[in-house]
Amino acid sequence: MSNETVQDYVVAHGRAKSFYERFERKDELQHQTHFCPGCGHGTVHKMLARVIDELGIQDRTILVGPVGCGVFTYYYFDVGNISAAHGRAPAVATAVKRSRPGSIVIGYQGDGDLSAIGSAEILHAANRGEHVSLIFINNAVYSMTGGQAAPTTLLGQKTTTTPFGRSAANEGYPMHVCELLATLDAPVYIERVGLGDNRQAMQASRAIRRAIENQVNGLGFSLIEVLAPCPTIWKKTPVEAQRWVRDEMEKVYPLGVYCDRTKARMEAGLTQPAVAPTLDQLPGILGVAEADLPEGNAAALVADKPVDLQVRVAGFGGQGVLLLGEVLAEAGLDAGLDVSWLPSYGPEMRSGTSNCHVRLSRKPIDSPLVAAPNLLVAMNEPSLRKFDRAVRDGGWVIYDGDEFPADCVREGLHTFAAPFTRIADELGNKRAANMVMLGSLLEIASVLPEASVAAALHRMVKNPRWMELDERAIARGRELYRASLKEMVSA
């Protein structure tokens, strides 16, 4: 061949520049992959590298690698690389893409990785329509670990863990990932391709390009399943393995497009990301900007009187037990006291009993748990009987009932009973009974400024109709207790 002729040729198909020059996976032969001769991974790697080159996205690309024979993507692809745990690439890719929306995030997984251990992650990443591209290599077997069965193993196929061939009775049927994912509404593009012959391979190359292009165009989830040969584990020559893809795998896993919403999604247009606020706006957005917080009414707090309210509020769920406690704590804070509020939580929120611990003190509060209250608000009889004996000598019990049960009376225990629910009902809604009881409590404790209570109520109760009722309810509760004092005096 003369020199003149040589100069008439240019590279038409050559090594992709998205591959590293040398692969440091091994100490020698660093221009070669670690894949076995005839491995489908190598072919798909080349297709992927070529697309990255052609689309000019090398700097933006982040490859999320799997566990399996494809684990060493980072030795080959000169792009950003993140190794995911077995099966978790779709979860990892989800967050990478959401963290860096301008990047092109490509997940690469085998069939053990994606269809077995990672079946939940792929299903939900697809269902959320994550804006990532997934390459799924299906070779019907766990190759790296030596040829165990995968969910994709064909019926009758012998593997080291299906030594008699896969049986539907014991291992179920080959899993059809594309068909499964295509039932979802979110995915943009799902196609199954093969490496069984030239025609299949050319289509595979086109499909992989589309999956990446979709992401470049700002579209959502694309997945390409590639039926790929594994000559070593299948115990076939590379050419036999290629034919097995075409002649056997394709029968079980039909090639084709399973979902294509590319056009519709392009027409629908892209949503613009919200503009992030500036740093100095954050405290305001979070509701913690000091300037937005109330001044409080500490100056109005009754001076010189020691304050150590240890309150237990108890009743049924729905009676407003927790809210009563919250308003009390909020009012205490407004008055400049240290406070704590601790609820019984969980299923009790929905039914059954409910109670909370509230402390208000001039001194820093040590334990927020009130095992021995000096004030008990019992919104019904079971709650009274549950906690009354824990009340400290000299403490108070406020009870919702016509009269305090005689057997609960004890020396050193102050009691105040009234039909709070009925009174609230008369005021307009029996659900305001908690606020009537709070009114009596405030009157008994006689330490918190009224302004603090009003401020607390305004912060806790947003509905103006309830606000008005609650204010009346508290006032009524105060009156009730004051009236009882007068009665006592007149008696």
């Binding site: 591959f19 005839g38 030239n198």
Partner: protein, 98 residues
Amino acid sequence: MAEGKKPDRGQLRIDEAECKGCGLCIEACPAKVIAMGEGLNHYGYRTAVYAGAGCTGCGICFMICPEPGAITVYRLVSAAGAATTTDSAKGATACASN
């Protein structure tokens, strides 16, 4: 290449050191101009070799080959395009004519 004969549309370079001898390119080549060589490379693989003529530059062997750079396919350009000739193309023919 004989005088007066039309030049091949394509040229092929197979990097013997990178080739693992899987034979997929031989199977894939529509023009059937790739064959398994007789010798072993230093890694112990029998490698594919280009017949030296008849490449159409279709690139299918490149696409099927699992190795990133074991195959390079070159395409004939017109005289006008000769300015784009690369150094590696020279290497390619050197290799192909081995």
